[in-house]
């Protein structure tokens, strides 16, 4: 039983990291209807920028602020060069544009800042803690707390500020939002900047775990099942979806894996997502799609 609990809690905590990545997707999808494949590349870019700045001897806070500025500038550039010319095109076209964008960002990140693995030390020790008999990693706890903090900040931003209200208006009905004078391009820039900052947070946590390197950009692929399970348009869904995927992956690897050869984590989440698709095509918290002919 202790072992089961340990596996479950470890999975849930790892799931919060998936949630963080998925949140970036949900934000952009809500505001602009784009499935942003470049989120992983943005994550890599943010983490690499931060590490490079720190290697130059900048203190933690300054490096963080500078990285945020870089991500915001990047968001404005992306809005100008990619989103604006492609406005009103099909979702799949936009998706493929972000696929191209991810190539550009990955190339830039590695070209400017090198391809070798960088160590990142956030000053959080990865020591096991004990709750009764159950062993929990301290680092995972900090990561989960960060995720909770980020979600709270986002919820406040969405519900309590003017930007948040106009953002929700755009997500709800783009035309209506435009007609009452909301600046769509500005909203997109803000959303992409916030997604970039989310990428930075997620990138720092993942990077501290496995080193800042190219494989960081592959966590996007992990976020896709999370989105399917939680729904593309729900922040709460991203969190619950992340937790479900994290827990299910860990449990499946331990309890099902040995029977079929092990190493099933790369695809298990997808199979889970397909099962969910059959039961609830819109995800747990997503809005059911209504099609007009």
């Amino acid at each position: 039983m202790t072992f089961f609990l340990e596996t479950l809690i470890g999975g849930l905590l790892a799931g919060t990291m998936y949630s963080l990545v998925a949140l970036g997707f949900v934000l952009i999808y809500k505001a602009s209807g784009v499935f942003n494949f470049a989120q992983g590349a943005m994550l890599l870019f943010a983490a690499l920028t931060f590490v490079s700045l720190q290697e130059q001897g900048l203190p933690f806070a300054l490096a963080l602020i500078l990285t945020v500025v870089v991500m915001a500038l990047g968001a404005i550039l992306i809005e100008r060069t990619v989103l604006r010319p492609l406005v009103n095109r099909s979702q799949i076209t936009l998706f493929m544009a972000t696929l191209g964008l991810s190539f550009v960002i990955e190339g830039l990140a590695q070209g400017l800042m090198g391809a070798q693995v960088r160590a990142l030390d956030l000053g959080i020790e990865d020591v096991p803690l004990f709750w009764g008999d159950v062993m929990v990693s301290q680092f995972d706890l900090v990561a989960a707390a960060t995720a909770a903090l980020v979600v709270t900040v986002l919820a406040l931003l969405f519900n309590r500020t003017r930007i948040g209200v106009s953002l929700r208006a755009v997500a709800d009905d783009t035309r209506a939002a435009l007609s009452i004078g909301i600046n769509l391009n500005r909203i997109w820039q803000i959303v992409w900047a916030v997604a970039g900052i989310l990428g930075l947070v997620a990138g720092l946590l993942w990077g501290a775990r496995q080193g800042v390197q190219f494989s960081l950009s592959l966590v996007v692929l992990k976020a896709l099942p999370v989105l399917i399970i939680g729904g593309f348009t729900s922040i709460g869904g991203a969190i619950v979806g992340g937790l479900i995927v994290g827990a299910a992956e860990n449990l499946a690897e331990v309890y099902i894996g040995p029977y079929i050869g092990g190493g099933i984590t790369p695809w298990f989440a997808y199979v889970l997502a397909i099962v969910f698709l059959y039961i609830r095509p819109a995800g747990l918290f997503g809005e059911p799609a209504i099609e007009r002919v």
Partner: protein, 354 residues
């Protein structure tokens, strides 16, 4: 005008000549002549091995994906997974069925890939768009895992790789670059010919109707689910044959990692750049994708020799690729094939534009 001017002809015999007489497709025939006769005579091994063979196989793979994505409108990012099925199935057939001729093994590998594609296409009756993309992504990762984890597929080789046990046809050895080139060329020409006719047939028209609007297609009586699954199967057949050729005629020795997600993206880029819903576009897209890296390498070595190392060149390549994809989507969503067609129209009217 003749006596038919007020009524439509009732038979082809009575129809105006333009409808029944088909001009000889001279450009195509010239191209085939060059490919089958001139290139084997003139081409050297480097050109065959490093450029023409991969170009042809990638075109075939693009064609397979285009049938599914460009013609039926079902986005797939799992193309390489089905290529792997074709490669490993062909390998098994050649190894375990004694005396099976190579063409039959290729077709058999394709059919097995088609079966797997059919299975992964089943969810398409309920889900579409991004959601369906997840299914294809699942196929990609699941198939990669299967071909790594179960040694039966690679005959318990310690390296986990497969290589063609025999590459011969009617007693001729096809191991030389020229032999492999002719094998690939023949397969590609045959399969392209079938595809051209397929997309012009009832099935192809049904696929395009589904792509343009599935609800409307269902309303006019097309069975949408069946045609989507069929598209998955046919597309996987093409990808399977392409995968087998990629493994045995180009690489020689392959493993599951030869068919990873980046290969899938590469094939998706071929059809975006070449042109979705176009047969010739696959060839143009594949030529572009396989020649651009060589070109960039040449430029890199010529202009910036010593200043830029190989890693940086690769990053530069990535940036240029990404920008080109965005540029194509913004400027010409129908791809290079449409750009060429426009250019042709302009040249026809040149220099007197009206």
């Amino acid at each position: 005008m003749n006596q038919h001017s007020h009524s439509l002809p009732a038979s082809y015999d009575a129809a105006p000549l333009e409808l029944t007489r088909r001009a000889w497709p001279w450009p195509l025939l010239t191209l085939l002549l060059v490919a089958f006769v001139l290139i084997p005579v003139l081409g050297d091994d480097y050109w065959l091995n490093a450029i023409l063979i991969p170009f042809l196989i990638l075109s075939l793979a693009g064609l397979g994906l285009n049938l599914l994505t460009g013609y039926t409108g079902q986005t797939s990012v799992g193309a390489a997974g089905f290529m792997a099925v074709g490669a490993f199935a062909t390998y098994s057939l050649l190894l375990r069925v004694p005396g099976l001729p190579l063409p039959l093994a290729l077709v058999g590998g394709g059919i097995i890939a088609a079966g797997v594609g059919f299975v992964f296409g089943i969810p398409s009756n309920r889900i579409k768009g991004f959601y369906l993309m997840v299914t294809t992504l699942a196929a990609q990762f699941f198939l990669e895992w299967v071909f790594t984890k179960f040694p039966w597929f690679y005959n318990y080789a310690s390296s986990g790789t497969i290589s063609a046990p025999r590459l011969e046809l009617f007693g001729y050895d096809l191991h030389s670059p020229l032999g492999r080139y002719l094998l690939v060329l023949t397969s590609v020409v045959l399969l392209t010919w079938i595809a051209v006719n397929l997309v012009r047939s009832q099935i192809g028209r049904n696929w395009m109707a589904i792509r343009d609007m599935d609800t409307a297609a269902a309303v006019i009586g097309i069975s949408v689910d069946r045609h989507k699954r069929l598209a998955f199967a046919v597309s996987s057949f093409y990808l399977g044959v392409a995968g087998a050729l990629w493994a045995f005629a180009y690489l020689g020795t392959a493993s599951a990692s030869s068919f990873d997600i980046n290969r899938s993206f590469q094939i998706l880029f071929i059809i975006i750049i070449g042109g979705m819903g176009s047969i010739a576009g696959n060839f143009i897209g594949a030529a572009f994708i396989s020649l651009l890296p060589l070109l960039l390498n040449q430029i890199g070595q010529g202009l910036l020799s010593g200043m830029v190392d190989a890693g940086q060149l690769q990053n530069l390549q990535k940036i240029i690729f990404g920008m080109l994809i965005i540029w194509f989507l913004v400027k010409e969503p129908e791809g290079l094939i449409r750009l060429l067609a426009n250019l042709g129209e302009r040249l026809k009217a040149w220099p007197l534009r009206f």
